[in-house]
Symmetry: C2
Subunit: 356 residues, 2 copies
């Protein structure tokens, strides 16, 4: 494991020890990956002295735990109970209440004899601010999505199904070096356009359709996300031009608000102002992005504090007119200080209304 | 929801009520799908009188639960606490200890005031024996995988990467109507062949390679799985012919043992006998398949009882020679009584050693 992972574990432990915790059990796969760089272990036990135990496989509760006393990796190991107890080296074990199942909680409690207390999303909170290497992975992931979309837009779209376009986009991202799609590529044509959650189906693209594409690549575990909406045919209808302009401006207002020290709901308020002026009841969604496509922070009024520098987020604005379709535009950006020029846009594919 | 789902919920409740449980909380997504046919809810509460509450979205623990008092579907709903308490209508609530997180357990306990007791995989046990409609979905899924593989074998393979072959297989399954791949298609060429867990990578297929493909389609949620190994080039080497024959015979022996009332480890013992006679230390794996690619029962000595009629299973035999590659053959079959002709083979693609 690289130095960066050791440093992350030390930061986690330092915070926990300060809170009276003797050892930490991490079970959320994405948190384990962030702390170790590997995704082949199912649980990680960090002791106060920095000692590390990795559990490669959870067995049925009655089997207890199987633990590896050395570096994480695949394969079975010795009886974990003494190891867990030794690694605990104290009566208080921090754990991830939002991930650990009740069955595993009981197995861990029995094996360690420790008092288990919730870590309260400690790893997720550490993951929120990214280092420049993490941001470079996100930048590469975003570029792969941009390339795939750019290539698709040069081909003939009429007559092809949403599902085929989605699969081609995924294949093109992999061609450009992606580990895979960050999430199943979404393509919505005609009446399906402008929706966040529409799954690509058997609808074929027709002349005059709005088509919304939402896609992202995964590169070294880091995921990007972008949505674009374009029109198929030579001349968009007036309502399409107008709706696209409104969503574009709302999303731009949201984007531009993403500077360090802004309030977490600044983007939502900015977009909402533009939509309301246009009389459009649209959807505004934003949150952190990194190893997960939706992670802390949430860009809304429920989030306290201020936006930090080096927090990558997605900001999406969508308007869907039932039966007609709509427009959705989403970007991945990194919060930066305004003196450094403000937010860094990672998904740089044009947001102009293209008529294809 | 269809009648079949109502009947499944009644069966679950009947068993639970007999065990002194007043209401049942189901949270495993695949179990919810089996009980309702929908995959848009995150929790399902079944009361003794058959009343149903579906929780569309878990919020943060401090938010409590959001519940829909009517049919499952997307969207928010009223304050769930009174609903949960009313639906409980008794002091004992069965829950899925192997799925529910500690955080949600605490939220549910606080909202209901009930005593929570583990359902002990009650839904998984009901899911083990399939009805003929479920088997027909599996049959269709298996056929989609067969078709995709058959088409691929007609094309030029030399020079293409494992990853590209895997993506093409997935695309072809979708072309044939699959919802998607049952799991990421695995392609292992040359020294990667014959392994169960090898993920398709950048290795290009070369003349003389063994190539192992493991794939399955997903159709209406039901998943098939098959593995085949073939040789690229006109003439397989003698060791390839011999190794393929040994694995083929071991896997056939395993398959033929899958009759109703057989011991759960009959397949493993049958395959192992052939492998041992050949002096090959191979891997034999088998388990149930359905909505999950690995579910109950496990075809090994740890499983008690006998195999039931209408239980679909996969049986895989693999031998991998480090540095050289190997052979893996896997099928999806349905356990049937011997008087009905024994196991029904769903993945009917040839298992002969093809030289392509």
């Amino acid at each position: 494991m690289a130095e960066v992972h050791t440093e992350r574990r030390e930061r986690l432990l330092a915070g926990c020890v300060a809170a009276g915790i003797d050892a930490v059990l991490v079970t959320r796969p994405v948190n384990i990956r962030w702390l170790t760089g590997v995704d082949t272990v199912q649980a990680l036990l960090l002791a106060r002295d920095g000692a590390l135990a990795a559990v490669a496989e959870w067995h049925r509760p009655q089997d207890g735990l199987t633990a590896l006393p050395t570096e994480p990796g695949p394969g079975p190991a010795a009886d974990p109970a003494p190891l867990l107890a030794a690694a605990c080296a104290g009566p208080v074990l921090g754990f991830e209440e939002h991930d650990l199942t009740v069955a595993r909680y009981r197995a861990v409690a029995a094996a360690t004899g420790a008092r288990l207390i919730d870590l309260d999303h400690a790893v997720e909170r550490l993951r929120t601010v990214k280092d420049e290497e993490e941001i470079s992975f996100l930048r590469i992931a975003a570029e792969m999505g941009d390339q795939a979309l750019g290539e698709l837009l040069e081909s003939i779209l009429v007559g092809r199904t949403e599902r085929h376009l989605a699969m081609e986009l995924e294949r093109r991202m992999v061609d450009h070096g992606a580990d895979g799609a960050a999430y199943p590529v979404r393509v919505g044509a005609g009446e399906h356009s402008g929706q966040a959650g529409h799954q690509a189906g058997d609808r074929r693209v027709e002349d005059g359709d709005f088509v919304t594409v939402s896609l992202g690549a995964c590169y070294r575990g880091y995921r990007s996300s972008a949505s674009r909406t374009f029109v198929v045919g030579l001349a968009p209808a007036d309502w399409q031009v107008e709706l696209h302009r409104q969503v574009f401006e709302a999303q731009r207002a949201a984007r531009e608000s993403l500077v360090a020290d802004a309030a977490p709901d600044a983007a939502e308020r900015a977009a909402r102002r533009v939509l309301e002026a246009a009389g459009q009841p649209g959807e505004v969604v934003g949150q952190g992005i990194g190893l997960e496509i939706a992670e802390a922070p949430r860009l809304g009024p429920q989030e306290l504090g201020k936006l930090d520098n080096r927090v990558p987020v997605t900001v999406a604005v969508g308007v869907h007119l039932p039966g007609r379709g709509g427009v959705r535009i989403e970007d991945t950006l990194v919060v930066r200080p305004s003196q450094d020029g403000g937010p860094e846009l990672l998904t740089i594919t044009t947001k102009e209304l293209l008529a294809l």
